[in-house]
Amino acid sequence: MDIILNGLIKAFGLILSFDRELYAIILLSLRVSVLAVVISTVLGVPVGALCALRRFPGRGIIITLLNTFMGLPPVVAGLVVYLFLSRSGPLGFLGLLYTPSAMVIAQSVIAFPIVAALTWSSVSSVRPAVRETAITLGASPVMVDWRVVCEARLGVYSAVIAGFGRTMAEVGAVLIVGGNIVGYTRVMTTAIAMETGKGSFELAIALGVILLAISFMVNALLRLAQGKGGVV
């Protein structure tokens, strides 16, 4: 208990100390996760919506793959991205390994199936009568689809929130492709893993508390946006 209590006290101390290294880690964590979620949303929402709204060859396989990859172990995602970005890999020429960009790619790979599969699920659950009503009011096929997605918007917001939660909490993939380089690719989760490995439990707990607090604040903001998006 003492370790946890001391960790909490240390967390407040760290926040109030305005330690440059700590804030650099926090900012990089946020930057990587937010970018990964934006990429996953831009790609995942249309893919999920398309699978829900249209019938096309291979749709069933795509849905099964999305559901399967929702449970993709981060270390496996990290390994695959590593192999692609390593010097001998097909994208090695880009020189992205051990950079924040590689971490964004790895986290996008992890978050994309979550956002796409949950979007598919929420858009699929919209009653067929909504589509028919839009048709009878004169909507074009594109406008009908848009209306159906609007009706599923709360589920789509939840998909994005779930994707963000996964990227913020992720450690395995960013450790593999980022390398936990201090001042460059070190993020909250990799810092926690490192401090735990060193036996600095108080610092690890303090970082964990800060990570939770940030995650809470970002989720609260997203929930706020979810509420404001209630009327479309």
Binding site: A129, I135, T136, L137, G138, R147, C150, E151, V231, V232
Partner: protein
């Protein structure tokens, strides 16, 4: 302007169970056409086919307006609308629900706003204009769905039991609006109902369906006054024909 609809040999089956068996009839332009019949007689299927929500297995359907046949497509769909027995309102405000179809038609925002306000007032829902649709009662939702159609001033208005969830005041209001649309805009209405009294009040032309077939049709005075078929007489007199 108003549309007329001609059906010729229309048939439709669901899982080998016939719902329509060679229906031929005409819904006259600028008239209130009332389709009567017991449950399962095919009335709703007929209406859904006319609305473009279902494709017939056989037969043809022609929409005529402005001196010529109107081809199927988005232009036709924007000249008509359907109000169903179980109204579906989008998860937004009543105002935005009513504005939806008007915006699709590319009307200027000022005109949209004016038409929405006028329709909502006509439907007696003025105080609920900016309420979320999900907060409306069943009766209010039913009126809202009708108001949404009313605002469009369609040339062809398809109504599937539009007063099923309404109290007598609500029924009277919707009936007044149906007649007002006919008078003011020349709207052709096709009203599916079980309510023989409502049919008598509104119909210019009446139709009786039974078992997927059109039993009888004709001007309301003759249809209700001296029906040609024994089945029609029994149905109108309340005798069981199921």
């Amino acid at each position: 302007m108003s549309l007329s609809v001609s059906l010729s040999g229309l048939s439709k089956s669901f899982a080998a169970r016939p719902a329509l068996k060679g229906i031929s009839c005409e819904f006259g332009a600028g008239k209130v056409n009332v389709v009567l019949g017991p449950n399962g007689s095919g009335k709703t299927t007929l209406l859904r086919i006319v609305a473009g929500l279902e494709s017939p297995d056989g037969g043809s359907i022609a929409y005529t307006g402005g001196g010529g046949i109107v081809p199927a497509g988005n232009t036709l769909m924007r000249r008509m609308t359907l109000v169903s027995q179980w109204p579906v309102l989008f998860d937004t405000t009543l105002f935005k629900n009513v504005a939806f179809g008007l915006r699709l038609r590319g009307l200027p925002p000022g005109v949209v706003s004016e038409r929405v306000d006028e329709a909502i007032e006509a439907g007696g829902l003025g105080r609920l204009a900016h309420a979320r649709a999900r907060t409306l009662s069943a009766g209010e939702s039913q009126r809202a769905a009708f108001v949404r159609a009313y605002a469009l001033r369609p040339e062809l208005l398809l109504l599937d039991e539009p007063t099923a969830n309404l109290d007598p005041d609500g029924v009277a209001l919707i009936e007044r609006l149906i007649l007002r649309m006919k008078e003011d805009y020349g709207t052709t209405s096709v009203l599916v109902t079980h309510n023989i009294f409502q049919a008598r009040r509104l119909a210019d032309t009446a139709f009786l369906m039974f078992g997927g077939e059109m039993v009888e049709s004709g001007p309301a005075s003759g249809f209700f006054g001296s029906p040609a078929r024994e089945l029609t007489r029994k149905f109108l007199s309340g005798e069981v024909v199921y």
